[in-house]
């Protein structure tokens, strides 16, 4: 489905990613775990094309995305739910949903109906401005908006940040359900271990722009991971 090969990128002249390679298959969910400043968000932003890659390739379903601008990558099938959710604050919830579909020239009414079926809690919020929603509601909307564009791959950047535990559990079920029904591949950046445990088929540990190691489901479930990740990880202090 998606293959990232030896990706190098950064901001200005400061390198952040230092040769990342990974693949995510159709319907698979791969988690990315790492401390702040290790390049997790940069990896997602480079895949979307919002940051230019200095080197390396991104391939989606066999099509090379390297020379595409971010809107072309979106049309090729990449859905992005960024950190901070980036809801259009002055557009209503309904308009935010329509935007996701219209941006890809898909019919807006069908997209709205499907989104409300998958996220019924948005129904009573439809006419509210996006900026007036709570963090959890915005997160659901950001997810629903990305899905109205019918992506093949979903990039999620810390979806549980600042969200109450009850909604976190609901999101695990919702995303798991989407994977099964739509066959969407998910690349998930997350600090919340419970969330990653609930969703990811495998986890890549990222450190200083490189993939340190890969953990399978058994290794993710191991309680000692908590110790390692929160306590004496490879590097607990960062300069960023």
């Amino acid at each position: 489905m998606i293959a990232v090969d030896d990706l190098v990128s950064g901001y200005g002249r400061i390198g952040v990613l230092d040769g990342i390679s990974l693949t995510v298959a159709s319907g698979e969910c791969v988690g990315i775990l790492g401390h702040n400043g290790m390049g997790k968000s940069t990896l997602l932003r480079t895949i979307t094309g919002l940051i230019p890659a200095w080197r390396g390739h991104v391939t989606l379903d066999g099509a090379k995305l390297d020379r595409m601008a971010s809107h072309q990558r979106a049309r090729a099938g990449i859905g992005y739910v960024p950190q901070g959710r980036q809801i259009f604050p002055g557009l209503s919830v309904r308009e935010n949903l329509h935007f996701g579909a219209l941006a890809k020239k898909l019919p807006r009414d069908a997209a709205e109906a499907e989104a409300l079926e998958e996220f019924p809690e948005l129904k009573r919020l439809l006419d509210r401005p996006g900026g007036a929603l709570s963090g959890g509601e915005q997160q659901l909307l950001a997810l629903a908006r990305a899905l109205t564009g019918q992506p093949k791959l979903l990039l999620l950047d810390e979806p549980t940040e600042g969200i109450q535990p009850s909604i976190v559990q609901a999101m695990i079920e919702r995303i798991g359900d989407l994977r099964r029904r739509r066959g969407i591949a998910v690349l998930l950046v997350e600090q919340n271990l419970d969330f990653i445990r609930g969703l990811a088929d495998r986890v890549l540990m990222i450190h200083r722009g490189r993939i340190l190691r890969e953990l399978d489901r058994a290794a993710i479930a191991d309680p000692s991971l908590e110790q390692e990740f929160i306590g004496a990880g490879p590097q607990t202090t960062t300069s960023h």
Partner: protein, 288 residues
């Protein structure tokens, strides 16, 4: 009583003129944060299009209302391609470049058509209130201001293109991550703004006279209106035009046109001192 009615009509027509000449600038500034200092010359090109077309026997209404926005819209497409696109996000550079463009347009038109006033006489005649003649065309301008405002609002609010434009205005990066090409949105927006400026030029041609330097008479007022209005392009332009147009016309009536413009400037300065982000920077912030 008759006098009061005439003054009221004049104030309304002053407000309407301000709305008409500011709307194109407001759309481009509101959507793209680009201040087009050649806006006045876009009006002038619209005026010339109307006068030249009418002089060659084109139907008056087609010459005033159809050809100017088409011609100036095309000019807008070219200017965006050659100039504006290279300067996105650099507001001061854009102002300099468009100012240069305005000088070039004034020079070019003077060379082609000479530095003399041409025009078309106001159609529709006049009607009488008591001892006063009132031009029907003034009423037509009020209607035009209302229709244009409603049209801009409806396009932004109800059409797919309007929705994509509003979202892109709020967060261009997210819009592109969802599949919208911001460059494309900006190009269309600039062309639409230019077309509105051209239409404004056609609309005011019968009341102002058409001359290569006519833009300079309007750019200052339009600029002040847009800045006073603030971020919400339509609400801002309407509220600022309402306020400044009333001040301008009232003082012009009480004293002279010169003091009218001085009063407009003073009100705008005081207002911007109190509300640095314009009227809609403080009130009606979620409005369009």
């Amino acid at each position: 009583m008759d006098y009061a009615a005439v003054v009221a009509l004049q104030i309304l027509s002053g407000v309407a003129t301000l709305v008409i000449v500011s709307l194109g600038l407001a759309v481009v500034f509101g959507m793209m944060r680009v201040i087009n200092l050649a806006h006045g010359e876009f009006l002038m090109l619209g005026g010339y299009t109307a006068v030249l077309a009418y002089g060659r026997g084109v139907n008056l209404w087609i010459a005033l209302l159809i050809l100017p926005p088409v011609v100036v819209g095309i000019v807008g497409v070219v200017v965006e391609r050659l100039l504006i696109r290279r300067l996105y996000g650099r507001m001061v550079d854009t102002m300099l470049a468009t100012w240069g463009l305005s000088l070039a347009l004034i020079g070019g038109v003077t060379m082609l058509f000479g530095n003399s006033v041409t025009g078309v006489s106001a159609p529709l005649g006049s009607f009488i209130i008591g001892r006063f003649h009132v031009s029907v065309y003034d009423l037509f301008l009020m209607l035009a201001a209302v229709v244009l405002s409603v049209a801009v609002w409806a396009v932004l609010k109800f059409t797919p293109a309007g929705l994509l434009a509003r979202g892109t205005m709020q967060n261009a990066e997210m819009a592109s991550a969802l599949g919208v090409a911001p460059d494309r949105v900006y190009a269309v927006t600039f062309a639409a703004g230019a077309a509105l400026s051209g239409l404004a030029g056609g609309l005011i041609a019968p009341i102002s006279g058409v001359v290569p330097t006519m833009g300079t008479a309007y750019i200052a007022k339009a600029f002040i209106t847009v800045i006073t209005g603030g971020a919400a392009m339509l609400t801002g332009t309407l509220t600022a035009s309402g306020l400044l147009g009333t001040v301008l016309t009232s003082f012009t009536f009480l004293t002279t046109p010169v003091f009218g413009e001085v009063a407009l400037l003073i009100v705008a300065i005081v207002l911007l001192r109190l509300l640095p982000r314009g009227i809609t920077g403080r009130f009606l912030r979620r409005a369009l």
